[in-house]
């Protein structure tokens, strides 16, 4: 077992590592395979700390700087652990025009965290996003996969309580 694998084991289960190995194997050798590997790894590991990036870089035969560069470029990837639920408040134009800003402030108040942060109990991570394409329902709040449309400030607590 290599150094960074010991490091990975501190944070992830052996099953997760097996899964990661499968993901790497699936895309290895394909041109442009790095981003799909990272995407799938992110889905099963939830976040991509340096240890994981090192492993991916080594096994795909890429410089670590390239992997790190891609991880930090795209907003989909994160290097820190997230809450069980990711609350995404849409601040695309249509939602903004319909009062998305007030919604995001209310969510911040309700959860007691700022944008980009995770609650201490690791239940919620709060993000704002740029348009989900559900503009017809603005303002929109997404909790993991559930899209909540036509949200009003007075409904925020009710929505979040479904996940507590």
């Amino acid at each position: 077992m290599t150094m960074d694998e010991t490091e990975i084991l501190k944070e992830f289960s052996p099953e997760q590592i097996v899964k990661l190995n499968e993901i790497i194997k699936k895309h290895k050798g394909k041109p442009g395979g790095l981003i799909p590997v990272l995407e799938e790894a992110q889905v099963s590991l939830e976040y991509l700390p340096m240890s994981v990036q090192k492993k991916i870089a080594r096994e795909l035969n890429l410089p670590l700087s390239r992997v790190y560069g891609v991880v930090t470029f795209y907003s989909f990837f994160t290097m820190t652990p997230r809450g069980k639920y990711t609350v995404r408040v849409c601040l695309g134009t249509a939602c903004y025009v319909r009062g998305g800003k007030a919604i995001s402030e209310t969510v911040e108040k309700e959860l007691g965290i700022n944008e980009g942060e995770t609650t201490p109990d690791r239940m919620f991570t709060l993000e704002t996003i740029r348009c989900l394409g559900a503009c017809g329902l603005g303002p929109v709040v997404v909790v993991n996969e559930d899209v909540h449309g036509r949200v009003k400030s007075s409904k925020v607590r009710e929505i979040l309580s479904q996940y507590k």
């Binding site: 041109p31 442009g32 395979g33 790095l34 981003i35 799909p36 990272l38 995407e39 390239r66 560069g69 891609v70 470029f73 795209y74 907003s75 989909f76 990837f77 695309g92 134009t93 249509a94 939602c95 903004y96 025009v97 319909r98 009062g99 007030a102 996003i129 740029r130 348009c131 989900l132 394409g133 559900a134 503009c135 017809g136 603005g138 996969e145 009003k152 400030s153 007075s154 607590r157």
Partner: protein
């Protein structure tokens, strides 16, 4: 067998259970038990009744009464009323829906009828997960034609002829793009689909992929054949999981059916396709960045040339088309370029899909021919702006685009026109913004977006957007400086020219376009720290206070009502407003239009709360102010503007004399507004308080007749002209000089001066009265005429929603039985012996939009008709009567018959001894506008005097400190605005007693509790 006198059948179906029938049943059993009725009444749970949306439902036998939507809390009343007293509880009774409602067809609904579906032709009609249903609607027929009957050059030619331009934003001709790639040498070429729909507010690509994914695949195969490609990618953003899911299914089905992959349809042509999931970077919508991203790198753009048609993905010739473009292709090939080009404008052919969102009633996807008017999209298809708000601008093209303001609603939307107006077509996100949106804030919003999404490769974009954002943020926070606008414009020019890719080059567009159309708003933020939309919250305490022309401290007096400290609340009112009980009744309450609570349910009833205070607390006592200054001031006109100036100057120690032509002070408040809206004793008290300061009001004294301008100049140091606008505009139709044809304000003035005679019938309008106009004075005149016993019809040339009168006034008029005919204009008044006998009118229809965003009425030829009437009141607008002005005094009257105030002044006229304000400067405006003008003039006159004397500027004495409690509810529950109790319709029509009765203390406190306290910083 036991006999029960009643059976209660509670529905126990799934629907009713989900709305709480079990709890209702439990409560019912309990209630029957408490009242010892269990032996007489039996409760039975039944199966579903079918009224599932109205559950829980209960039928009471033997009567067979059906109750719906029963709540647990209704049970005691229901048992008491129905089972004990034997009365049906009306409020829970099932009512047959109005059965004569005619169900409209899809073609009766403008949202659908005005669309022309090409890209969206399969919407809602096919199951996107079944390839057969796509095939059934001519799917893959275009591809079959291209593969079997057409050579690549023919396909390219068909595309060129169709005139189709890229729907992703830039509008580059699709055929040309294909031609370049087709001519590039190489055996490996790629067809790419851009489904990285990143423009916020655009969602047509998502919708197409979700509803009709095969249309995109078909387009890609045709493109592949045209350029000689055998491999394609669809780059789809990860935020669209359902689109990716349906694409995957579609690709699998197409492969299985031999419509993708090797030897398609047995024609020997091979084309394979993969989905590539984006990872969240807006810049990847740019074509070279997208290709870099597929290559597995940071998605940064690269310089062109070489163009992708020569060296694209993996350096091979590639074409990239967006989803909407590709969804057009199959139809173009199948039905021909002629068909495609049959709609659209000269340079923009076919249709365009817009994602219509924002402040518009019908939100959704709209496909219309290129060249459709903006107003048609927003008003006819979109259904206009909700909640009676005004259209401000449409934002088109997302962060690369710009705003199109109200004066361009008639413009046909196509690529060229949109660019000319300073926006871009972009992917077609069309976001409607109402008057509550701030232009500077929107520019900041988009700049924040571009700054955040800048990939950082080139300096102009990376650093330039940061600097521009910084300046914009400062402006929205009240830290803007003179020269900021010019600096923004300069930087915008540099970034546009020097940035590497489209993102950077277009990033300044929203800023430039908002500066172009809303420069005044920028200035207002920078110079006056005002945000007229009440959005930039760093500039104010609360939106209501910021919106009030005299910035009344609304949150404080509402909080004091909640705390039941009405006397203190009254003191707050008097700090800024000498006419609070007038404004509590007749103010146009702009404050309420910006109340944040309105976003949740309804705005607070601020006006009514203000009136409540003045009705329920003792009025603070007024003592005379000793004259301490030598300068004397004359005020011409005892209306709200003149009296406010007089009061403010008296408070500063000046001797003020007010000259009033009529026999009573108050201006329009006395002579225009009828007593049923503003009782005379209420107004008199406020005027008396102003007089009590030591101000002299000389009634029946017309300046220029009873006292000359020369005399005024001799007796007074400064003169304030606030003569109001008391002359009705003429209609300009024959017969206007007949007897019994009145101007609106003239009629009201005559009535108020001779109320006795009118009431006794010594003066009369006759029986039937026509009132022309749609403003407040038209409604006032009509309601007065009605109270004099007339049959009244209002004729208005536009529609109800276009009436300038306050909604509550129109409603009251309707309730009282006044008929309103819309889309009618007067042509001629006919009469015998000098007296009116009839008015001939013609019908109007609505044409193009005017600069106010309303549709212009146009006459319908041959629609003339006659109305027999005894009197006509023309209330189509007022102007000041300037006949008293002595031209020798050096003040200017402009073409609108108003006093001219130079650009550099707010109330000073060209003659420095004369100031002017109120309706006499602005034309007909509101009471609160006049009070604000009065405050302004007092400030200006006082500072002119002090400046001349070399004195220090006036310092307002410290206001009495009133501690305002901060109580905010933990949770806000949606509650509508408290309704104003009104006098019964039947009674109020017969007299001039006040119609609105005022809140009770319970009403007021309850309403005050709805305040969200936007002023509080927590």
């Amino acid at each position: 067998m036991k006999v029960f006198r009643s059976h209660l059948l509670i529905c126990g179906g799934t629907g009713c259970q989900s709305s709480g029938s079990l709890a209702v049943k439990k409560a019912l059993l309990q209630e029957l038990d408490t009242r010892a009725l269990t032996s007489e009444i039996k409760v039975v749970e039944t199966g579903c009744n079918g009224f599932c949306a109205l559950g829980p439902i209960m039928v009471v036998y033997p009567e067979g009464v059906l109750y719906v939507s029963i709540k647990v809390t209704d049970i005691p009343e229901l048992v008491e009323e129905h089972l004990i007293k034997g009365r049906v509880l009306e409020r829970l009774l099932y009512r047959e829906p109005v059965t004569d409602k005619i169900i409209p067809t899809m073609q009766d609904i403008p949202f659908f009828a005005l669309q022309e579906l090409r890209v969206l032709r399969n919407r809602g009609l096919i199951d996107p997960e079944k390839i057969e249903e796509y095939i059934a609607r001519d799917g893959y027929a275009g591809m079959a034609k291209a593969l079997t009957e057409m050579k690549p050059e023919q396909i390219v030619k068909e595309m060129l002829d169709s005139g189709l331009r890229g729907r992703g934003g830039a509008g580059f001709p699709t055929g040309l793009k294909w031609q370049f790639a087709a001519q590039s040498k190489g055996d490996i070429k790629y067809v790419l689909c851009n489904a990285d729909e990143g423009d916020p507010g655009a969602f047509m690509d998502r919708s197409v992929l979700e509803a009709d994914p095969h249309a995109v695949l078909e387009g890609m195969v045709i493109a592949a054949k045209a350029i000689g490609s055998h491999q394609g990618y669809i780059y789809c953003r990860a935020e669209y999981p359902l689109a990716i899911h349906r694409l995957n299914i579609a690709i699998a089905q197409a492969k299985e059916a031999g419509l993708l992959g090797k030897n398609i349809l047995g024609t020997g042509f091979d084309f394979d396709l993969e989905i590539y999931q984006g990872a969240g970077a807006f810049v990847c919508g740019e074509e070279t960045a997208l290709m870099t991203s597929i290559e597995g790198k940071r998605g940064m753009p690269r310089p062109r040339p070489p163009f992708p048609a020569v060296a694209g993905l993996w350096q091979k010739p590639s074409i990239l088309n967006n989803v909407e473009t590709l969804a057009n292709i199959g139809q173009i090939i199948l039905r021909g370029s002629q068909w495609y080009a049959s709609v659209g404008t000269e340079k923009s052919k076919g249709t365009k899909v817009f994602a219509l969102t924002g402040d518009v009633s019908n939100v959704g996807l709209v496909e219309v021919p290129m060249g459709t008017k903006l107003g048609t999209i927003v008003y006819d298809i979109g259904g206009g702006i909700p909640k009676g708000k005004k259209f401000k601008a449409a934002q088109l093209g997302g962060p690369s685009g710009g705003c199109i303001p109200i004066q361009y609603l008639n413009e046909p939307i196509d690529y060229e026109k949109v660019v000319e107006l300073g926006a871009i077509m972009g992917s077609g996100g069309l976001i409607v913004m109402n008057e509550d949106k701030c232009a500077v804030d929107m520019a900041r919003f988009f700049m924040d977006f571009c700054q955040d999404e800048s990939c950082g490769k080139c300096t102009p974009c990376r650093e330039g957007t940061k600097r521009m954002l910084n300046i914009l943020t400062n402006i929205t926070q009240g830290k803007g400086k003179e020269g900021d606008i010019e600096l923004l414009e300069e930087m915008a020019g540099v970034i546009k020219n020097a940035a590497l890719c489209g993102l950077g080059q277009t990033a300044p567009n929203p800023v430039l376009s908002t500066i172009r159309y809303f420069r005044k708003e920028y200035d207002d933020h920078i110079r006056n720290h005002r945000c007229s939309a009440a959005v930039c919250s760093a500039l104010f305490k609360s939106p209501c206070q910021h919106t009030c022309p005299i910035e009344m401290d609304i949150p404080s007096y509402i909080a004091l009502i909640r705390a039941e400290r009405f006397e203190d609340a009254y003191k707050i009112l008097m700090q800024t407003n000498p006419f609070p009980s007038v404004c509590g009744r007749v103010c146009d309450h702009k404050c309420q239009s910006k109340c944040r609570r309105g976003n949740m349910d309804e705005p607070l009833a601020i006006k009514f709360l203000k009136r409540f205070i003045t009705d329920n607390a003792p009025r603070p006592k007024i003592d005379p102010v000793p004259v301490t200054r030598k300068e004397k001031i004359a005020v011409v006109g005892a209306g709200p503007a003149g009296l406010t100036t007089a009061r403010d100057l008296a408070l500063r120690g000046y001797k003020v004399t007010v000259f009033e032509e009529l026999e009573k002070a108050g201006g329009m408040l006395s002579w225009g507004i009828p007593a049923y809206r503003l009782p005379r004793n209420i107004l008199d008290k406020e005027i008396a308080d102003i007089q009590a300061l030591g101000i002299e009001i000389r009634l029946n004294t017309r300046v220029g007749r009873d006292i000359s301008f020369a005399q005024l100049e001799k007796d007074f140091n400064f003169i304030y002209l606030a003569c109001g606008a008391h002359k009705s505009q003429k209609m300009g139709v024959p017969g206007e000089d007949l007897k019994n044809v009145y101007g609106g304000v003239e009629f009201l003035r005559d009535f108020n001066a001779n109320e006795e005679k009118w009431s006794r019938g010594e003066k009369t309008l006759g029986k039937k009265v026509a009132v022309i106009g749609g403003g407040n004075s038209a409604i006032d005149a009509a309601r007065v005429a009605l109270r004099l016993g007339n049959d009244v019809t209002i004729l208005y040339r536009r529609l109800r929603q276009d009436m300038p009168a306050a909604e509550e006034e129109i409603l009251a008029a309707e309730h009282e039985g006044i008929k309103i005919e819309y889309l009618v204009a007067p042509l001629k008044i006919a009469g015998t012996k000098g007296k009116v006998s009839s008015i001939s009118c013609q019908r109007m229809k609505l044409g193009d939009f005017d600069s106010s965003g309303r549709k212009k009425p146009v006459t319908i030829v041959g629609s003339e008709f006659n109305l027999n009437v005894d009197a006509v009141i023309a209330a189509i607008g007022q102007v000041p009567d300037m006949s008293f002005v002595d031209p020798a005094c050096g003040i200017k009257v402009n073409k609108w018959d108003c006093f001219d105030i130079g650009n550099d002044y707010k109330s000073r006229t060209p003659n420095p001894r004369y100031f002017a304000g109120g309706d006499a400067v602005t034309g007909p405006d509101t009471v609160i506008g006049a009070i604000a003008a009065g405050h302004q003039a007092a400030d200006d006159i006082d500072s002119a005097i002090r400046k001349k004397n070399g004195e220090r500027p006036y310092e307002k004495p410290a206001l009495e400190k009133i501690d305002v409690p901060l109580i905010i509810d933990e949770e806000t529950v949606e509650t509508p605005q408290m309704a104003m109790p009104e006098m019964d319709n039947a009674i109020r029509k017969n007299g001039f007693a006040e119609v609105e009765l005022g809140f009770t203390p319970e009403n007021a406190i309850k309403e005050a509790c709805r305040c969200l306290r936007c002023d509080a910083s927590v």
